[in-house]
């Protein structure tokens, strides 16, 4: 573990240099919001931000991704045979990602990289990515990372952690991948004891700013069918528009659809993010739909995150407390309130 201090100019210069080795993704101001984009001439990083509106999950798991390709041209001896699309797994770095979004990768990894099956695209994109996290000095009012096993300076899953010390950045290499990235940046000076202490103080004071209290301790012991049949689902779901904003923005939502698309005689098999909020998600060819009603779909979202996931992996909830779904739900449906209801039921 190395701790190094960089002036902010030095660090920006260093990032420029990193682009020789890595595809660098940074938060870029995009209208009223921030979005993770490739660092190039048009996209200037802006680290003075709270969090991106869209989670950076798309760096590892694109919203739309070509998986396979094929030709339908019968003149071709390989017609109709589905082949893997070539992929670029050259190194990438996501710089400025928040610790909650890094924790989200750990949460979804249990799904995409499990003992029985490894999703080749997710795993290889993930393994080629270095996560350079930026601690949150000022968490938002909707954040609750500390309640779900994280924290504004949580180091779990990060390769490098950045402390914004005002005039300078303190960079901490946490893994071999992280040290390798730091090794490519010239300048900086070793952090002295005072700087380390300041960094720890900064982290401690940030944690204290998160005031939400959302206990999850009883979720595991609840009986699934008791929660499933609880009387509160209709009421929780009442105002929901099934717009899908919550699942779309969520860094821990991973559901996808697979579709074939054809142009002329060439075709692709692609996967697209999907959402359990849409009735089509579970519609059978016969017309039967196990989640025909809105409340069933809303229940599925919360039960998945706060009960099924908890039972399946015994490793916390499927939520990193980023607060996006709370901030952007047009009708103010709040996972913190639902979690309280479930935990206390």
């Amino acid at each position: 573990m190395t701790d190094k201090i960089f002036s902010k100019e030095e660090w920006l210069g260093g990032l420029e240099a990193l682009r020789k080795t890595y595809g660098v993704f940074v938060p870029v101001k995009d209208g009223d919001f921030h979005t993770f984009m490739p660092f190039d001439k048009g996209n200037i990083p802006d680290f003075d931000y709270q969090n991106s509106r869209l989670s950076p999950k798309s760096v590892v798991y694109p919203q739309s991704e070509r998986l396979f390709e094929y030709t339908l041209d019968k003149a071709d001896s390989e017609a109709d045979i589905v082949k893997e699309s070539p992929k670029d797994y050259s190194p990438r770095a996501v710089v400025g990602i928040r610790p909650c979004d890094v924790q989200a990768f750990q949460i979804v990894k249990r799904n995409f990289d499990n003992p029985e099956y490894r999703d080749p695209w997710w795993v290889q994109h993930f393994e080629s990515t270095t996560l350079v996290g930026l601690g949150c000095n000022e968490p938002c009012s909707t954040c609750f990372c500390t309640e779900v096993g994280g924290g504004p300076f949580n180091q779990e899953g990060l390769d490098v952690l950045i402390f914004d010390m005002g005039e300078t950045y303190l960079l901490r290499g946490l893994t071999d991948k992280g040290e390798a990235l730091l090794g490519k940046i010239t300048g900086g000076s070793p952090a002295d004891d005072q700087a380390l202490k300041n960094a720890e103080d900064l982290a401690a004071s940030a944690s204290k700013k998160i005031t939400s209290s959302i206990p999850t301790d009883k979720l595991k012991e609840k009986v699934t069918n008791d929660l499933f049949n609880a009387p509160f689902w209709e009421e929780i779901a009442f105002a929901c528009l099934n717009c899908g904003t919550c699942t779309f923005l969520c860094p821990t939502c991973w559901c996808f659809d697979i579709q074939d698309e054809v142009l002329g005689k060439e075709g692709d098999r692609i996967r697209n993010w999907d959402s359990c909020m849409f009735p089509l998600f579970t519609l059978h060819g016969s017309g039967h739909n196990p989640r025909d009603n809105k409340f069933q779909r809303v229940r599925q979202r919360f039960m998945h995150k706060l009960k099924y996931y908890v039972d399946k992996y015994d490793n916390g909830v499927q939520c990193s407390g980023c607060g996006r779904c709370v901030r952007y739900c047009p009708v103010n449906i709040d996972i913190r309130e639902v979690c309280n209801l479930m935990n206390n039921y």
Binding site: L67, D274, T282
Partner: protein, 280 residues
């Protein structure tokens, strides 16, 4: 890196129209690369994704038995986009198969027991696989009595008619074929709904395990019949359907509670289902 989404290329070797409404066809596939057949080693009860370039993939139960070598078969009901396209394909056409997927009937538990098979409509596919496998000389001695209740709306809607007739002739399997109704004066078998015939023909749950596959309505009315006979929920086995995509428990589509029907199922005991949300 191994890719569990990549189908094995296959050629359609034979197409058989099964039913009078022509809505059910059996497709026999041969692997383009013979070594893929070994990799596709399966157990009755499993399913596969049939993959058609340009159209998509559909989960379909494997209708052939592992004792049948050189090909795999599936029986497909014409429903929507992919199944309709498949129905219009021809012998010799190339497509893909991905699998085998999911779990299987509890073969270890079934050994030494009387096996009751209750099937309705076109859900008889993996039951055919099971029967063929059980009556194979290498396997028959592992099971005690094998009794089959299989029903369809009309005689013309029964699947695998030649094989049904053949099984009727055997003395190591008790067949009870039924139809909801028929105006055929020569109809040799039963008339009546599957649950009713099950109640008539099955007399004991002693040392028996029941496998039930069929439309939801049939399952709903067969369940109490079996429970009345004394089958505990652990010995009533069902195979479920959910809309699916990945087939390997990753895309998040087919869950019932914390179980993915594609990976943890499609086969569940009634005892398991009673613990799971009734959302299927």
């Amino acid at each position: 890196m191994e890719n569990p989404y990549l189908p094995y290329p296959v050629r359609i070797d034979k197409i058989i129209t099964e039913t009078e409404d022509r809505n059910l066809k059996t497709f026999r596939f041969v692997f383009l690369n013979p070594e893929d057949e070994e990799k596709f080693a399966y157990t009755p009860g499993q399913f596969a994704e049939l993959s058609i370039a340009g159209k998509g993939e559909i989960p379909i139960g494997i209708a052939s038995s592992p004792t049948e070598k050189g090909f795999v078969t599936f029986t497909v009901n014409k429903t929507g986009l992919v199944t309709t396209y498949l129905h219009n394909m021809n012998e010799g056409d190339v497509m893909g198969i991905r699998g085998p997927l999911g779990n299987w009937y509890p073969w270890d538990e079934m050994e030494g027991k009387n096996v009751i098979i209750v099937g309705g409509g076109f859900a008889f596919t993996t039951l055919r696989s099971s029967i063929i496998s059980m009556i194979d000389p290498a396997n028959r001695s592992k099971f005690k009595d094998i009794t089959v209740v299989y029903g369809a709306r009309t005689p013309g809607m029964l699947l695998y008619k030649d094989e049904l007739a053949e099984w009727e002739q055997r003395d190591d399997i008790n067949m009870h074929i039924t139809v909801d109704g028929t105006d055929d004066p020569d109809w040799k078998y039963n008339t009546g709904f599957v649950p009713t015939i099950t109640e008539e023909k099955i007399t004991s749950a002693d040392n028996a395990i029941a496998i039930v596959c069929g439309p939801p309505i049939m399952i709903k009315f067969t369940q109490p019949v079996l429970e009345k006979l004394g089958f505990p929920p652990e010995r009533i086995i069902l195979s479920l359907e959910m809309r699916m995509k990945c087939g390997i428990g990753i895309c998040g589509r087919c869950n019932i509670g914390d179980q993915y029907v594609c990976k943890d199922g499609p086969v569940f005991s009634l005892a398991q289902l009673k613990e799971m949300p009734s959302e299927y």
